[in-house]
Symmetry: C2
Subunit: 195 residues, 2 copies
């Protein structure tokens, strides 16, 4: 492999989930993708690296601050959905089920990894509340850390007189009971609703 | 997602094996990798795209033609290993079991996909032979197309008075017989050697 290919493989390998084989495969694909592809990709990478920053209000990744979601007058300003990371926000947007605002924490509480409230965007969240917000939806993940983060936030927010909700946990749509793990089944039963 | 992020995701999705989720994950990882990473990656992509070309002799990807393998005086010039693609060459190099030269065909014969001998680097191979070469090792894959390509090349090379060999097919190292497919087991038996 040539020096420039080795250098590119080395950089790609620094990305999480990209090993030697995947990096090599990406470099080969880049070289097979036609003469215009490489320069276009290089420009796009540089633009993203130079222009994209966290939104000063919600923490979403954006080229302008406040971001397009915070600035959108059609979004419901009474609803604030708290997520761990930007991909979670993108997943909720892709569901087309939510039209409120967001707050990205930047992770979840994990004392063993040295992540306490000060490492997350918690003060920024409190600074936005209550304002116009009526309800805070805690959409942290259903992991131990995500649950701990939700409970911690619930406690911090309880004095503000807001409605604080947690997204439902249960059987995934299309999921067969037989193959669902015990924990999820337990949650699904505990969270049952009247029809 | 911002415009520049959407553009980068769109380009990454053109690479084989990269879907929407993987592309998004790569963009997020790029943004999390520190301020120097993005520009460094953009430069590396551009350099590869501008500098790397197929070697005029063997078809390996290189910044100079002939490539470092063709030009290396320590390589055995009597051995020529024919592979389908550059990643196959890299895999053989990584095994440290081979010190001869290579020839990259650019694929395998596949009439249904419109790939005949003219679409592969076959004439370039014949133009190199016999010269110093004593043995041609056919290291095309063990698929139907790879076998057909090996048989075709064997026929084309037979008049040149060369030794033509095929890499062995059989149980992978560490493989348990119980879990090996019928075809591989059949090949392993047919290709048995005296101990």
């Amino acid at each position: 492999m040539s020096e420039s290919m080795k250098r590119l493989v080395g950089l790609l390998r620094q990305l999480p989930g990209v090993g030697e084989k995947t990096a090599q495969r990406l470099v080969m694909a880049l070289l097979n993708a036609g003469p215009d592809f490489g320069p276009a990709l290089a420009d796009a990478v540089r633009e993203v690296a130079e222009r994209v920053r966290p939104c000063g209000v919600c923490g979403n990744l954006t080229e302008e601050s406040p971001c397009e979601l915070c600035a959108d007058p059609r979004r419901e300003r009474g609803l604030l959905c708290v997520v761990e990371r930007v991909p979670d926000l993108l997943a909720i947007e892709a569901s087309h089920e939510y039209r409120g605002l967001y707050h990205v924490l930047g992770g979840s509480l994990s004392p063993l990894d040295g992540v306490g409230p000060d490492e997350l965007r918690v003060e920024g969240l409190l600074a936005r509340l209550p304002g116009e917000v009526r309800e805070v939806i805690l959409a942290t993940s259903a992991s131990v850390e995500g649950e701990a983060t939700a409970l911690y936030l619930k406690r911090r927010l309880s004095a503000l007189g807001l409605k604080v909700t947690r997204i439902a946990s249960g059987i995934p749509v299309g999921g067969e009971l037989e193959y669902v793990d015990r924990g999820t089944l337990g949650r699904a039963l505990a969270g049952r609703r009247e029809l």
